[in-house]
């Protein structure tokens, strides 16, 4: 089904964030595992896989609308050199995702593309949950201090 080009552009903007997030979460997971911060590594790993599923849905929708997925375009991949910075970077990326998808939802309403809007709404909710997770970590760090917070994150299992 031929889709609205601006909607396809919006989906591609979302896809750029998803593809960036896959890579950003993945390297953060591997670095945390290397540092022995295994619970955080596991969380980042799960996020990376979740972003891949988001990317799959967005690509499927772009193809359905007869657009071309921008699979080679990435945003800057932020690789923090400590766990706290990595959480801040993931918060930044997820906030960008929320803002982008909210703008795209507005467009979908304007051009009456309910199918894409439904997909975008789910993406917003999941991005908001990731934003909330990061903000919870900030609160915990503030309450107990970074050292105690990290002590809680060591865990036993590796990042996959």
């Amino acid at each position: 089904m031929k889709g609205n080009q601006e909607v396809i552009d919006a989906l591609n903007a979302g896809l750029t964030i998803e593809l960036t997030a896959i890579n950003q979460y993945f390297i953060c997971s591997k670095m945390c595992a290397d540092w022995g911060v295994n619970k955080l590594a596991k969380h980042f790993y799960a996020e990376s896989i979740e972003e891949m599923k988001h990317a799959e849905e967005v690509i499927d929708r772009i193809l359905y609308l007869e657009g071309i997925p921008e699979i080679a375009r990435y945003d800057k991949i932020l690789v923090g050199d400590n766990p706290e910075q990595q959480i801040k970077d993931s918060h930044t990326l997820e906030c960008k995702g929320v803002a982008t998808y909210n703008e795209a939802i507005q467009l979908c309403l304007e051009v009456k593309d309910a199918g894409t809007r439904e997909l975008m709404e789910r993406m917003v909710v999941e991005s908001e949950e990731s934003v909330d997770w990061a903000e919870t970590q900030f609160d915990m760090i503030k309450m107990v201090g970074l050292e105690k917070y990290l002590a809680q994150q060591f865990g036993e299992s590796a990042g996959e």
């Binding site: 601006e6 552009d9 919006a10 591609n12 903007a13 750029t16 390297i27 670095m31 290397d34 071309i68 997925p69 921008e70 699979i71 080679a72 375009r73 990435y74 945003d75 800057k76 991949i77 932020l78 690789v79 050199d81 400590n82 960008k96 803002a99 982008t100 703008e103 795209a104 467009l107």
Partner: protein, 100 residues
């Protein structure tokens, strides 16, 4: 290890990588200025010629619309609200950075 990785991080992929207009083809890294120059100086008229001469457009194909715009004498970017800012990577509808 962290420092080594940090030094390998590229700058924003769609930021102007040393040339005006920024990256046109994200698969090959060919910039808008290189394609524009070819159109101006060598009279290239088709996407296929651009692909053959610069390599741009030979990957995923998503940039063909941008190549067509340059061939038409227009900026590669259509200037819509979902264009990505070369500075912060946000869509132009929400971008508030100084590069906007």
């Amino acid at each position: 290890m962290e420092t080594e990785i940090a030094t390998l991080i590229p700058t924003c992929r769609f930021a102007a990588a040393g040339e005006a207009g920024g990256v046109l083809c994200h698969c090959t890294g060919v910039g808008e200025a290189a394609v524009h120059e070819m159109v101006q100086s060598e009279g290239v008229k088709t996407v296929e010629e651009v692909m053959h001469r610069t390599g741009a457009g030979t990957g995923c194909g998503a940039c063909h619309c941008r190549i067509n715009r340059v061939l038409d004498g227009l900026p590669a970017s259509c200037g819509g609200r979902f264009d990505l800012c070369g500075g912060c990577g946000c869509i132009s509808a929400i971008c508030q950075c100084v590069a906007a």
